[in-house]
Symmetry: C2
Subunit: 218 residues, 2 copies
């Protein structure tokens, strides 16, 4: 199993974390090592991450996540009850659909290139969607029936796997994350775990090759 | 089971279609009927759709979709094989994550209100992401191992349920959809089915109340 990825790719970080929690070995392939245009031959979407399984390519982190959960069910990253599962997926999808796609590199680049937005303006854009999204996520946790160490339970799951890269990027881009105590508490709990640490950008094999030169993409 | 929705909401249309295919009865509640701020009390995200199940609220169309698929498995909207399932989910997630969130009403509004983009500019924005997304989706279908009437099979599934509202909106906003023959063929096949027709905006109970006055949101 090959994971096409990039140390800074936060959707890829979700998958790395899930694979580490489930102790599933994988080959890490940095998309930049394939050369210009090389990755598009693998994944026509050109987006990261992608998983190669027996020669077939699966794109989109949530599709990959569900695949991993189905094929490597232990430990499960989703609760057993269908409504509980839906609640966890809703938390993760709010990140995957309503926060992440708005602030990624290619979208901010398009805003500057096409509409001449300044760096300050794309920063405002970034901070706006992150703040709106984090407020909704905090409110979701506040409405839980009981407070737990991780988002939805006493062990980390899908919601936590999606949350940590978001919090990392929010801090990196100077968003104020202090108004979200519940999210911060979960994030802190996750980062004490070796599986989450192993998925962090600085611990990926391509960090040394590309890390020092790259400051913008997420 | 209550579906909080709006006739024009295209993420909601995915769920309406899935429920109709599975013959699951549901109460349709138009979020506008709850009055100003009323819907936010139900769903703190303020986004549509949301499903209320035994007093609990589940947001995010993909979380709702997976819930419906788990609780009402027949007919299934996902293939049996895990990699096949992942491929279908990747197609749907490309729509849910990389196309839809960029062109929705609140995002275009933010671009005009905050950065004074003109209607032509937000139109350019809309067309850009739709064209890029549709090209990737067309390429995904082109790479299928066999050509099928629906996206991934001889019966409609998750990919089709996500595709039809996208095609509808792309046409409504004047995107050129002629370069995508495979997507058009699937869309046409879907629209011959009563379950897809029943989920169309003009067949929702709030269409007559709000339809004539609303021209912008999707």
């Amino acid at each position: 199993m090959k994971l096409y990825n990039y140390f800074r790719n936060s959707a890829g970080q979700r998958i790395r974390t899930a694979l580490h929690i489930k102790s599933v070995p994988f080959e890490y392939i940095c998309h930049k090592d394939l050369g210009p245009g090389g990755y598009r031959k693998v994944n026509p979407q050109g987006l990261l991450p992608a998983l190669e399984i027996n020669g077939r390519i699966v794109a989109q982190s949530t599709a990959i996540f569900e695949y991993i959960e189905e094929v490597f069910p232990t430990p499960s990253l989703l609760p057993a009850d269908p409504i509980d599962r839906a609640e966890v997926r809703a938390f993760a999808q709010l990140i995957a659909c309503d926060i992440h796609p708005l602030h990624i590199h290619r979208v901010r680049n398009y805003l500057s290139d096409e509409f001449n937005l300044t760096g300050d303006q794309t920063g405002t854009w970034y901070h706006h969607w992150v703040a709106e999204g984090l407020a909704s996520l905090e409110e979701m946790l506040r409405r839980r029936t009981r407070e737990t160490e991780f988002c939805y339970g006493d062990l980390p799951g899908m919601a936590d796997v999606y949350l940590t890269p978001l919090m990392l990027n929010a801090r990196r881009f100077g968003c104020d994350v202090t108004p979200y105590p519940l999210l911060n508490a979960v994030d802190e709990a996750c980062l004490t775990l070796p599986e989450f640490q192993a998925a962090m950008p600085e611990n990926q094999p391509d960090f040394d090759r590309y890390g020092p030169h790259v400051t913008q993409d997420s």
